[in-house]
Every structure is written in structure tokens, then in C-alpha cells.
Amino acid sequence: MTKRRVAAVLLLLLFGVLLAAEHVAPYSYATQFRDAPNARPSRSFPLGTDALGRDRLSRLIYGGRGSMLLAPAAALLSVGMALAISLLAGCLGRWWERGAMAMADLSLSMPWLFALLAIRALLPLNAPPVATMLVTFGLLGLLGWAAPSRVMLASVKRHLQSDFVLLARASGCPRGRLALVHLAPNLLPLALAQFLVTTPVFLLAEATLGLLGLGVPEPLPSWGGLLQELENLPSIAASPWILAPLLVLIAVVGLFHLLVSADPYSV
């Protein structure tokens, strides 16, 4: 079995577990066993409990559902936008290119945090937590196109000078087809790099945004929120099982990498 297949199977298994959280998790993510706060791993609580006596394993499973579905989706959105904008900018000419890159530079420099706060303020106070999560990740996805689009545009311009593109143009290939059939596949390595970088970045960004009220509301868990416990570094030595979300996330990112990476041999 190739590595890609193994990675695909494992990821599918993981997503299956996450989607079936109600059946797989030993407890609800919100149940507080107040007589057992900060409990060590045991048969009842395989990964121990948190400060409020909530089962860590259950929260890991339920938290992954939101984080692992929405973070990759947001990453796909930002990658898709970066691809589309760089292709448009590269193929339509200099002024489009300058305009797009000026927008990219602006987008990279703006304090978008305030836009996030403004949009969050528009949501009703009793909005379902899912709505808050969707808005947060959606906005992250919409705002994450700028950096990769620059790199992709450079690649587009380089490929526009390639022999195969010149041949296609000489054959009368329309610009749309040129972009989609000839250029886009050559941007895939960059797009995949962006996807692999952005998925964990967005996942963690949700937790950072939680410091400003833009994260996942209680009692819903998220992997970013669970990872925040690691900020108390001495507690890692005392309770190493709190590393579980980090290890799972590293494993998932590694599986994604195996799934989407090009062949390993090069020179």
C-alpha cells in the first residue's frame, strides 16, 4: 500500500471518528465531573480531565470535529482565492497584475482583527456557536489569500515564458484554457504548500482570536483552545498527557502532507 493510500485511510478513519463523536466519545464534551478535576489518565478518563473535570479525550474528539473540518475548509478557500487571483493577474496583463498585487500588499498590512470584531458584533448574542465558528473561519479563509498569491504570481509569470505556454499561445489557446489547463497544474506544488501551512495556522489562529472573543464559545471545545493549555510550560512536565492534542494535530498535518506531497525524489 502506498504512503498516500495509508495517509488517506488514516485521515478518513480520523474524520469518521470525529463525525461520529456522539458514539465514540465516552462522555459529552460539557459534562463536568467536579469531584475529579485535573485527574490523571485512568480507565474512566483515558486522557485525564481538565480543570473543570471534563473528560479530555471527549473534548479532543468533539473539538476536532469543528477544528478539522473548518480549518482545512478555510485553508482551501484562501488557496483557491490565491490561485484564482494570481492566474487572473498573470494572464490579464500589467495593470491587472499591479492592481492585484497592490490589493495583496494592502491586505497583508491591514489590521483585519477589527473587521473580525465588527462582524462578530453583528452576530446576535444568542447565535449558535456553529455560526460563530463559521464566521471566524470563513473570514480567515477570505483574508488568507494575499501572501501565497504573490508567490504564485511569480510562478505564473515564469511559466508564461515557458516553451509549452508559448506553444499553446501560438496554437490559439484562449487565455482561460491557458490558465486552467496549462498554468494551474504548475501552481499546485505552491498551492499544496500553502494548504499545508495554512491549515494548522488557521486552527491555531482560532485560539488566538479567542483571546479577543472571536473563538469558539464555551462549552464547545476546539483544538486551538485545548492547545492553549500548553502556554503553562511547567504544567507539561507535571501533566504530559496535555500534549495529546498537539501530537494528534502534528499527526494529522503529517498525514495531510503525505497525502498531498509530490514524489520525494528530486535531484
Binding site: 495583496a104 491591514m110 489590521p111 458584533a121 501551512v197 486551538g224 500548553l230 502556554e231 498535518v253 509530490a262
Partner: protein
């Protein structure tokens, strides 16, 4: 003419950036609020005076027009939250941030380039796997943990910046180089028996320098983005720490000025990369 048009574009980006930043800050909830208003000792007159001071910038167009006029005279305005001239605040802190940012970027690039070169020359699956895992793992660690971890190890904020940037730069570089290795001319050069190091430098990396240059330009904004939480968490008295405090306090004068600086840096870095690339293409 090209230089003039690029300069005009840069200026337009700067002005638009400042206005957009000011608008974002103004429309965000919490503008004009300060925890001083919770002080139960204040009487109505004092509360009104504080609210008046905080509402500076309510009319965003008028505020920005006045700001540009003062900027022309070198006056960057006064910080609402710290009560000091923004120019003073920035001049005290710019040096710290520049040192951390440049050192962090330099270390990240050097490490990423070295890692890519070593991986290409070694051609070992195990090395590839370990490098990918390490870079992926670094991406998964929250910025706060990276920053605190560096402090615990006795490192400076630049080390934290380097750690944050390395994984991103490495991932891009690796994919750029790997994809370039599939090019027909590389395969031909390999068949001719050209040595690996020469193959890597002249035949693989040289043709993809536009992407590498673009990545370098983008890494400036990545570094700026990393500096803000790192300086805030490490309590390093740089511009990043100032920005964090200003964002929490909705300090419009500080945020507008810092946005202009960041926009200028980002646009200038990318403009330099584009100009260099265009010049090289023209020579070619």
C-alpha cells in the same frame, strides 16, 4: 517613468492603507471606550471629558485629512492610551523590532535554505520525513508556546520569530525546489552527470529565483505578523508590543501610523522584489 509609476503606486497604497486602517479601527466595537470609565470615583464632568478625548477620530474622513496634514509636518499625533507623542513611542521601539525582525528572518531563511540544500543533496527518505515532521510540528505549536519556550531556553524574541517563520519558509521553498526538479532541463543535466550541488544551484534553484524572491518579499510581512504576538508575549519593548496594546485600547493614532509603516515595509519589500525580477527579465 517605470520608477515614477512604481513610486506613485507605493504612495497610493500607503494613503489607501492608512485610511482603510483608520476606518477598520473606527467601525470596530469598543472604539472610544476605556476602562477609566469604570472608575466609580469619576463624576459626570470627568466622564464626559474622557469620552470626548476618546472620541477623537469619530469622523474618520476629517480625522484622516487632519492626520495627513500633520504628517506632512512630521507630526504623527499623540497616543490616546499612553498619552505620549506617537513619534517618540515609535523611535524608542523601532530599533528593538528591527533587530528582532531582521535577525529572526535571517535565521529562518538561513536555516530553511540549509535544510532544503541538505535534503536535496542527501536524497534520504528518512531525512525528508524528519524534516517534514519537524516543520509540520513547529506549525502546530501555538505562537505563545513557541515564544515562551524560547524564553525558557534563554533565547531572545528573534529566536521565536525565526522558529515561527522557518516552518512556513521551509515548506514553500521545499515545494518550489521539488517542483523545479521535475523540469526537463534538470533531468537532462542529471543524465549528463552534472554534480548534485551544481545541479541544485545552477539548474534547479536559479530558474525559480522569481518565486524565491517573491517569497522573500512576503516573508517580510510574515515577520511583521510574527513580531506582534512574540513581542507582546515576551514583553519585548518593540513596535509589536505597542501595536498589541494599541489594538486592545483602540488607540487610533498609533494604529494608523503603525499600519502605514507596515504597509510601507510590505509594499517596498515586494516592490523591490518585483523591480529586481523585472530588471533581470529585461536583461535576459
Amino acid at each position: 517613468m517605470a520608477v515614477a509609476s512604481r513610486a506613485a503606486l507605493l504612495l497610493t497604497i500607503l494613503i489607501a492603507g492608512g485610511l482603510l486602517a483608520a476606518t477598520l479601527v473606527r467601525v470596530a466595537p469598543g472604539f472610544g471606550m476605556d476602562e477609566r470609565l469604570l472608575d466609580a470615583r469619576l463624576n459626570n464632568d470627568s466622564r464626559t471629558a474622557i469620552e470626548r478625548q476618546l472620541s477623537q477620530g469619530s469622523d474618520i474622513v476629517a480625522y484622516y485629512g487632519e492626520y495627513l496634514r500633520r504628517l506632512w509636518r512630521g507630526d504623527l499625533g499623540d497616543s490616546i492610551s499612553l498619552g505620549r507623542p506617537v513619534r517618540e513611542l515609535l523611535s524608542e521601539r523601532c530599533g528593538v523590532s528591527l533587530r528582532s525582525g531582521l535577525a529572526g528572518m535571517g535565521l529562518a531563511w538561513a536555516t530553511a535554505l540549509l535544510a532544503v540544500v541538505v535534503l536535496e543533496l542527501a536524497r534520504a527518505k528518512t531525512c525528508e520525513a524528519v524534516a517534514s515532521l519537524a516543520a509540520g510540528a513547529l506549525l502546530c505549536v501555538p505562537t505563545a508556546v513557541v515564544a515562551l519556550g524560547c524564553l525558557y531556553l534563554g533565547g531572545k524574541p528573534s529566536l521565536a520569530v525565526a522558529a515561527i517563520l522557518f516552518s512556513r519558509i521551509f515548506r514553500y521553498l521545499r515545494n518550489i525546489v521539488r517542483s523545479a526538479c521535475q523540469a526537463p532541463h534538470v533531468l537532462a543535466a542529471k543524465a549528463l552527470g552534472i554534480r548534485r550541488f551544481r545541479l541544485l544551484t545552477f539548474h534547479v534553484m536559479a530558474p525559480v529565483w522569481p518565486e524565491i524572491l517573491a517569497l522573500a518579499g512576503v516573508s517580510v510581512s510574515m515577520a511583521v505578523g510574527a513580531l506582534i504576538p512574540v513581542e507582546a508575549l515576551c514583553d519585548s519593548p518593540g513596535v509589536g508590543q505597542l501595536v498589541w496594546q494599541a489594538a486592545v485600547a483602540r488607540d487610533l493614532p498609533v494604529l494608523v501610523n503603525v499600519t502605514l509603516i507596515i504597509t510601507g515595509l510590505t509594499a517596498a519589500a515586494n516592490l523591490m522584489a518585483d523591480t529586481f525580477r523585472a530588471t533581470r527579465e529585461a536583461w535576459a
